[in-house]
Amino acid sequence: MSTLRIDGCTVAFGGLRAIDNVTLDIAGGAITALIGPNGSGKSTFVNMVSGQIPPRRGRILLDGEPLNGLRPDRIVHKGLARTYQVPRVPKELTIDEVISVPLLYARSSRSLPGAARTASDLARYCGLRPHVGTPCGQLSVSDLRRLEIARALACRPQVLLLDESMAGLSLEDTEQVIGLVREIHASGVTVVVIEHVMKIIARLCSHAIVLNQGKLLAEGPPEQVLTDQDVREAYLGKGFRL
């Protein structure tokens, strides 16, 4: 399984440091959670790693290969994919057309999870119920989230960053997505889950990384990290229970 290494990275907007000299390793053996209060830099982290915002300093290495400074589409070719929190897809395109884009453009020798060969296979694997010919304008939010996961999987990534893919989903849908994420991980993909619903983190992830104000605050198993005093203070999370 692939490892992602962040080495002394800083992202700054003018004087504000959204990511402040962060060094961490994401190994493939666990599903890793990236958590932190609002404004801690989680979204910036994803944008930094995926190439949207290059770090001012530091290196990002995927299995030893540097990713920093590359264009986002080059980073996808290297094997890192991310989902978008708010999926905005052209409403005229159908489900399989959206999934077909990475299938065509993110060329890779890696195989798709779940023995999927086509866009409709991937759609089914991700639990997309509407017919693949349905235009995206007619999809529900949970369908759009699944489509995002399918689209990111179609990039055939070695490392997958899921940016709040479960926010706002029903209990049933959340269950199904949790199952899907486990399956994706089991197929050999290193998964990083950016979430702020603690119960999901606790169930899904065996390793958690906490950011606060752009700095690495804590790392470790979720139960340990979530009971850490510093982490609790950062969240001002009174009365939180696992």
């Binding site: 995926s50 190439g51 949207q52 264009r71 986002p72 589409d73 996808v76 070719h77 994919a81 991310r82 978008y84 999926p87 905005r88 897809v89 052209p90 005229e92 395109l93 057309e97 959206v98 077909s100 884009v101 990475p102 065509l104 453009y105 993110a106 060329r107 689209r151 990111a152 179609a154 990039c155």
Partner: protein, 321 residues
């Protein structure tokens, strides 16, 4: 696959049919109108190809003119075939150069840059009278020996060629990627699409098809001045045609060219030779606000709706009995 090919061939036949009918009718006035309309359609197709990536060009007159002047000046030296090919390729090269600089930027700046470019290039012609004839113009070789019916036949062929190119970019390889670039370029990049490179490709192809239209236009009457090709008319026309007919389609610009030509003739009748472009402005506003999918898109919606209601009807009957 064969069904797809047949539908495409049907489309091209439908595009060519009106010309053939007009040729059969043998009315010189109609032939001239048809020639003008077809050239507009080719230019509009060129514009639409680029518009699918979300880039609005206000400078297609530049490519229209470069293709026209290029082919006109090179044909006496290199022969018609090579002269046209190089003239059109020149448009592609210019597009790649301009695009490499401007396509990375906000869409607004690209639009302004194309407008500025097209207004500036006329100046270039005017200050190089030695090569380009300057303000006095040039005398391009005439297509098909000046015979209007043969010209119409040739230009119809060019339109079908442009339609084929348009269809290639509406195929599986390009359409979803182009639409994604238009709607959410970050998402496209996050899907492995080389966004700027594809935009440059679309721009180059768009420029070359526009150059083809220009080459056809310059080859009609044997005499062309810069004002004939480098005017805002050719910048605005493809927008109006495509929005009227239906963006993101191949048949849309063709339908739009025909309908707009009719509207233009009506406007010219009432308003005279100056300011009739008001029709373009009115068309654009009315359709963007009221019918953004254009005539073709609206027609398709109607067909879909009638198909759905006819599917429901038998069910109702059986429930009632």
């Amino acid at each position: 696959m064969t069904k797809f090919l047949l539908s495409r061939l049907g489309l091209y036949a439908a595009i060519a049919a009106p010309s053939l009918l007009i040729l059969a009718a043998d009315r010189p006035f109609l032939i001239q109108v048809a020639i003008g309309t077809l050239i507009s359609a080719i230019l509009a197709l060129a514009w639409d190809i680029l518009s699918r990536t979300g880039q609005v060009s206000l400078g297609h007159a530049a490519f229209f003119g470069i293709g026209g002047y290029g082919s006109a000046l090179l044909t006496p030296i290199l022969g018609a075939a090579l002269g046209w090919v190089i003239g059109i390729l020149l448009c592609g090269v210019v597009a790649v150069l301009l695009g490499a600089v401007t396509l990375r930027l906000r869409r607004l700046y690209f639009t302004i840059a194309t407008l500025s470019f097209s207004l500036s290039i006329q100046v270039l012609i005017l200050v190089t009278p030695g090569i380009t004839g300057g303000a006095t113009g040039i005398m391009p070789p005439v297509i098909a020996g000046g015979s209007p019916p043969l010209q119409l036949l040739f230009i119809t062929g060019c339109l079908v060629a442009a339609a084929i190119v348009s269809d290639v970019f509406l195929g599986r390889r390009f359409r979803p990627a182009f639409f994604m670039i238009r709607n959410n370029p970050d998402l496209a990049a996050a899907s492995g699409v080389p966004v700027t490179r594809l935009k440059i490709l679309a721009f180059a192809v768009s420029g070359m098809v526009a150059g083809l239209a220009g080459a056809c236009y310059c080859g009609l009457y044997g005499y062309v001045i810069p004002d004939d090709v480098f005017t805002t008319n050719w910048n605005v026309l493809p927008l109006a045609v495509t929005i009227l007919g239906g963006m993101d389609t191949t048949i849309g610009p063709v339908v739009g060219a025909i309908v707009l030509r009719l509207l233009e003739e009506a406007a010219r009748h009432f308003v005279g030779g100056v300011g009739y472009q008001v029709v373009y402005g009115a068309v654009i506003i009315l359709f963007i606000a009221g019918m953004p999918e254009g005539l073709v898109g609206y027609g398709r919606q109607l067909i879909r709706r009638s198909r759905r209601s006819s599917e429901r009807a038998p069910v109702k009957a059986s429930l009632a009995s």
